[in-house]
Amino acid sequence: MAPKKRTIRTIPPERTAMAELPAAERARTFGEVACGYALEDALRETERCLFCPDEPCVRGCPVGIDIPGFIKRLGERDFRGAYDTITDTNLLPAICGRVCPQETQCEGVCTVGDTYAPVAIGRLERFVGDMAIGEGWANVPYVEPNGLKVAVVGSGPAGMACAADMAKAGCAVTVFEAFQQPGGVLRYGIPDFRLPNTVVDAEIEKLTRLGIVFRANTLVGRLFTIEQLVGEMGYDAVFIGTGAGTPTFMGIPGESLNGVLSANELLTRCNLMHARDFPAYDTPLDLGRRVAVIGAGNTAMDAMRVSLRLGAEEVLCVYRRGREEAPARAEELHHADEEGIRFHWLTNPVEILDDGSRGVRGMRCQRMELGEPDASGRRRPVAVAGSEFELPCDTVVFAIGTNANPILGQTTPIALDARGYIATDATLRTSLDGVFAGGDIVTGAATVIEAMGAGRRAAAAMKRYLGLRDTDAVYQDAAPDGELFGIAAAERNYARVRVA
C-alpha cells in the first residue's frame, strides 16, 4: 500500500522540543543555552512538514531558502543533499538557524502553524548546519575567475552574504574588517551562549574556501577611502556593510558616571575582548553586582544575560513600555525570564544617581502608562504624575539603539539620508558609481538575516552593474519595508531589534 498523503491530521501535532541547559545551571556559564536537535529529534520534526504547494515559508525567508526541499532531503536522511539545498541560497545555516527570528519569518507563515505550533524550521536548519561543520562539509563550486575585483567593507552578516555571492559569481573578493578578527556583530555582539564563536569561525572558514580574502585591522575610510578602492586600488565594485554606529543615550543627568555604559561596549568587551576571562585577558569590564539594563530589545536581553554570567547578583530590565511592546524575540524574553531577570515594565529612568565617588548608586525612575497610539502604531508611554521612585543599582547599561556611524560620511562624498545613514535606491546602489550598501548602515538597527538579505540584494545589483549573468534566481529584489516587526524604522528611542 502506498504511503498515505501527509495531512494536518496525520502529522505529529507536537513540535519536537529542543533540549536546553537548565536555567539555574546556564545562567552562570557561557555554554550554549539551546543544545540543538539530536538526529531522531530532527527526523521526527521533518515529519511535521506538509510540503504545501504554495510554500509560504520560502517567501517568508529573507534569502528565500528552499525550506520544503531541504526538509524533504533531511527526512530522507539525505543529509548532504539537505545541506546542499540550504547552501544554494544561504552559506551560513549554523548561524541563521540560531539567530534568525523564525517566528516572524518562515515559521510565522508556516501552514502547520494555523493549527498547531509551526514546523521548527530554524532548529532543522541549525541541525543541518551543525552537521556540516562536524563533517567538514563545504560547498565550493568551481568558479571561473572573471577578473573582476570586489571590495566588501565590514565582515558582519551583510558583508559575508554579499562576499559569498560575488565570489560564487567568479569575482576576487576582499573583505575589510576594522577589528582584529572578522565576523562583525556575530563575533562582538551576539554572546557565545546564543552563537558560539567557534560556529562563526567555522562559517567564515567556509567562505575562505570560496576564495574570499578577509583582511582584519583595516579601517576603510581612514586607512584608504572608498574612492581609492575604486580608483588606484583597482576594485570594480564596493559593498559597504559597516553595521552599527554610535550608541544612543537618553540625555538624562548622570550618564557620564562610571558604571554607565552602552550594551555594545559591554558586549564587545565580553565577547570579542574576553573581559569575562580577566585578568587572563587584559580587557577589564568592572560590572557591578546590581545591573540595570535600559531597553527590551534583543541587544538588551543579551546584555542582561551576559551580566548574569559575569556574576551580577541581580539584573534588572527597565523599559518604558509594557511586555507586549518589548521588541525582543519571544524566545529571548522567555530565556531571560527563566534565568531570573527582574523586569520593570512601564518604567522610565529620569536620572542616574551618583554614589558620591562618581559611581552609580541607583536611578530615579517614573512609572509610565500607555496612552494613545503614536506614529509607530504602538501606544505611547506617558509618565504618571507623582510616581517617581528610586531603583537601587550600581551599573546602568543603555540598550536603546544606535545612530549612524559617521566615518564613511566624513571621508567620502557619499549621499546620506536625513539621519546620517547611507542613502541607497531600491537596489541598494549608493550615490557613488559602483558602490553599494546594505545592512544597519542603510536601515539602522535590524536583524542578522535582514542584513544578509540586504547583502544578497546588493550582490544581485552589483552583478548587473558589472555585467555578470545572474546565475541565481532566488534573490528577492523587493525593497525592505519601513517596518521591522511592526515597529516603524523612524522611531529610535528604544532598543529596536538589532541582532536576533
Binding site: A178, F179, Q180, P182, Y188, I204, E205, T208, V213, F214, R215, A216, N217, T218, L219, R222, L223, F224, G243, A244, G245, T246, P247, F249, G251, E255, S256, N258, L261, S262, N264, E265, T268, R269, M273, H274, F278, P279, A280, Y281, D282, T283, P284, L285, D286, R358, F398, T402, N405, P406, I407, Q410
Partner: protein, 293 residues
C-alpha cells in the same frame, strides 16, 4: 583565506627614559594615510587589550608610523619589556579620528607636556609646512626626561623649553611658557595643547581670558575606536561627543576636563589588579631563572 595581518613589525625602538619609549612600526599604507592629530589602536598580543595611542610621527618614505608610550599600567609595561626591534604587534589599526586643522593660520602656539610632546610634533611640522609661524612650548619634569628637542627646533620658529625643576629651559609648567608666548605675541591665531588632562585644563584656563582659540586632544578610554562602543564619550559644551569619531581634538574652552579625568579612572581597580598580578608573575619568573640555570 584569512589574510595574515601585515606584520606590524617594530623596526626601531628608542628609550627616552626608564618609563618612556618610542616604537617605530612598519605599516606603509598607514604612513601614507596618517595626518597630524590622528591616533591608532594597538594590541600587543592576542590576549591583550586595545589601547589608543596618538600618532607621534609618520614617515612615508620609510613606510612607518611612530608611537611614543609611557609605561604606566600592565599593558604598557609589558610592551616596554617585550616590544624590541624585530618584534611584532598583534594588531594595529588606524589612522583614526579627524585630523588636526592646519590650514589658514599665520601664528600658532603648539604646547606639549610630558608624553604629549610627541603627538604635537607632527602638528607643528604640518603647520610649518603650510607657512605658519610656529611657537613651540614643550615641558618635561626634568632634564633627563627631555626628548625630541632638536626635532622641535627644526620645525618651530621659536621654542620655549620648560622643566618643573628648572634643570633645563625655564623653570615652570608649560602654562608659564604659554604665557610668555602670549605676552610676546599679540597676533596668535590658535593654541594647540596636548598632554595630561590637568595640563590641558590649565592651558585652557590660561587662554580663556583672552578668548584665544585653543584646541586640545583628548585621550579617553576606548574599545573599538570606530564609533561603536561609546566608551570614549566626553562632555564638550554640555553635550556628549564621541572622541573616537568626532575628535580626538575639541575646543579646549568647551571641554569638561573633570568629567574626562573621572572617566579615565573608571577601571582603576581592575588596572591595579592586572598590574600587581603581572608584577608578581615577573618576580616569580626572575626567581625561577637562577633555579633553572
Amino acid at each position: 583565506m584569512i589574510e595574515e595581518p601585515p606584520p606590524f613589525e617594530i623596526v626601531r625602538r628608542e628609550d627616552f627614559s626608564d618609563v618612556t619609549y618610542l616604537l617605530e612600526v612598519r605599516h606603509p599604507e598607514m604612513a601614507r594615510a596618517a595626518r597630524p592629530g590622528q591616533f591608532v589602536i594597538v594590541m600587543s598580543h592576542e590576549a591583550g587589550e586595545r589601547i589608543p595611542l596618538t600618532i607621534a610621527d609618520f614617515d612615508r618614505d620609510r613606510g612607518t608610523v611612530t608611537l611614543v608610550i609611557q609605561a604606566v599600567g600592565k599593558t604598557t609595561r609589558e610592551m616596554q619589556r617585550d616590544l624590541v626591534a624585530g618584534a611584532r604587534l598583534h594588531a594595529l589599526v588606524g589612522p583614526m579620528g579627524e585630523p588636526s586643522r592646519l590650514d589658514g593660520f599665520r601664528k600658532v602656539v603648539v604646547v606639549g607636556g610630558g608624553l604629549g610632546v610627541a603627538p604635537t610634533y607632527p602638528i607643528a611640522r604640518g603647520l610649518k609646512e603650510r607657512g605658519a609661524h610656529v611657537i613651540g612650548v614643550i615641558g618635561f619634569r626634568s632634564r633627563d626626561l627631555v626628548f625630541w628637542e632638536e626635532k622641535f627646533r627644526a620645525v618651530c620658529d621659536e621654542l620655549i623649553l620648560c622643566s618643573d625643576d628648572g634643570s633645563v629651559g625655564i623653570k615652570g609648567l608649560v602654562t608659564l611658557g604659554l604665557e610668555q608666548a602670549m605676552s610676546a605675541h599679540s597676533d596668535i591665531d590658535e593654541v594647540v595643547a596636548i598632554g595630561p588632562p590637568i595640563m590641558m585644563r590649565a592651558c585652557a584656563a590660561t587662554t580663556r581670558p583672552k578668548g584665544l582659540r585653543t584646541v586640545v586632544s583628548l585621550n579617553p578610554i576606548m574599545v573599538d575606536g570606530t564609533g561603536m562602543c561609546g566608551g570614549c564619550r566626553v562632555k564638550v559644551g554640555g553635550r556628549i561627543r564621541f572622541a573616537c569619531v568626532e575628535g580626538p581634538e575639541f575646543d579646549a574652552h568647551q571641554v569638561d576636563f573633570d568629567d574626562l579625568m573621572f572617566r579615565l579612572a573608571r577601571h582603576r581597580a581592575a588596572e591595579k589588579v592586572a598590574l600587581e598580578r603581572w608584577q608578581q608573575g615577573c618576580r616569580l619568573e626572575a626567581q625561577a631563572v637562577p633555579a633553572r640555570a
